[in-house]
């Protein structure tokens, strides 16, 4: 999905919502933490909000005026949701909160995976073509090995995401997939840009399509650090 980089709220609508809510929700769906007053991905386009509020997930219809769009370079529509809209909605029952959180983590990791994979493939393609120092720069070992490290990180993310999803998003596996994928996303983002050089900064070159989105994904749900702490808690019962 994230390969196409055009899916509107796909992860939330297509993956999370059906697995968390027992009934069909009017899409697109946006995900938000109850206390988060920052910009939310897909909020301007969403018709339904899934709110994570501790042990409970709530679903709320979004009305006109509930969302204030925020200009950003992230490549997703983002907007601030007014507090009243975040507080309301129907509860999906006790225990629905952790379920939402786990699937949200898996979905986030999956989106990051798709974007990383695409960014890496695109960069490899470019490096095969681009010549400097008398040869395609992709033929230098220093470049190849860095790409190989990225490929390992992407594959690791892939299989952690698949494992978490296949097992129904248990809390530890979901946190593991999210922490690994978001860390990998940061690395792949940096490396693809470092290896692409100046052209990678231009909008004429397509790399930004994925790298801006990878940045946005790394800001969600508290970022890579929060996923690592969650993993430690789930695995060892360690304090947050």
């Amino acid at each position: 999905v994230a390969h196409a980089a055009g899916g509107v709220a796909f992860a939330a609508s297509g993956l999370v919502a059906p697995l968390v809510a027992r009934k069909a929700l009017a899409g697109p769906v946006a995900l938000v933490e109850a206390a988060d007053d920052g910009p939310v991905r897909f909020a301007p386009a969403a018709r339904t909000l899934l709110v994570l509020d501790g042990d409970v997930a709530r679903c709320a219809r979004l009305e006109v005026g509930d969302v204030e769009p925020v200009r950003s370079n992230f490549g997703y529509p983002v907007g601030r949701i007014r507090p009243g809209a975040r507080q309301g909605g129907d509860s999906l029952g006790a225990g629905s909160g952790p379920r939402l959180l786990a699937w949200w983590r898996v979905a986030l990791a999956a989106e990051a995976l798709g974007a990383m994979d695409a960014a890496l493939r695109f960069t490899v393609g470019y490096l095969r073509e681009r010549e400097q120092f008398g040869r395609p720069i992709g033929s230098f070992q220093g470049v190849q090995h860095r790409l190989a490290e990225c490929a390992v990180a992407v594959e690791g993310s892939r299989w952690l995401v698949y494992e978490a999803a296949a097992h129904g998003a248990p809390a530890e596996a979901a946190a593991c997939a999210a922490s690994y994928a978001l860390a990998a996303a940061g690395r792949v983002h940096r490396e693809t840009h470092q290896l692409s050089g100046a052209i990678g900064y231009t909008t004429e070159h397509d790399l930004h399509v994925w790298s801006m989105r990878l940045q946005a994904l790394r800001l969600e749900l508290g970022g890579p650090g929060a996923q690592l702490r969650a993993l430690a808690r789930e695995r060892w019962g360690a304090p947050a």
Partner: protein
Amino acid sequence: MTPALELDAERAAVRDAVAAWCGDAVGVAFDEERWRELAGLGVLLVGADGESGACELVASFEALGAAAAPGPLVETVLAVRLLPAALRQAVASGEVLVAVGEPPLFSFAPLARHFVELSGERAFLALPTGPIEAVDTLAGDPWGRVVLRRERELEGGASALRAGRVAAAALLAAGGRTVLERAAAHARTRKQFGRAIGEFQAVAHPLAHWWIHVGAAEMLARAAARGLDDGAAEAGELAAAAWRSAREAALGAAMQAHQTFGAVGITLEGALFPLTRRIRQWASLPLGEAQAEAELLAAVGLA
């Protein structure tokens, strides 16, 4: 205004004196007599009276870091700043050891006379409520698990931690530099696939990458020390930044050095492992992670 980031002649002399004492001390186990000798150089007390001295501290800790010197180095920097005056002298002279950290695991607990419990940027004089359970560590130092009861809060936690962070940064940056030098030396001589392995880009480039990071961390530690000595407003942020930077750089350098050395690098008798396991230990010191991060975020207006 850029602070001079080279050690001046006086501080270089301090570093050289400590380096001479260290000799070839890499991997040597902690020894109480040698600890007292180190204390005799005045290294443990420098800057503790609140006057300037951070630059000397960094100079000596660079030498200690390069040699992977054993002992509760940063812990003692904290202890001499936190403990009541009556207890300070015996610690500074090396007669008495202090375990400083977050329970339940403390470095040098089995040998410690005093315990200081850290909680964020707060510090408490504490006493064990039961026996100390000795714990083996990779670096071979005597650690222990202990349950403590806080006796009273100690003043000056935030400022002691600033000095501790700068000291840790100096240790880590110098340790990182040493492992990279050893890895490069190995890469120049070790032949595989028909040539010195350092000729392969995939070996050389990552070492260069971490060399830059280690060098930057070293400069940041010196800048932070200068800031502390000058009473600069940004000294706290510089200390926090130096600590984080040096931790990341040293751990990255250690990892890359291990990649370069291959199997021989993880042997106990090899040239690398005694240093990298000490880097790992120095990088785990609990010097108020959350507070340091908050200070850095505030410095860039993101608090």
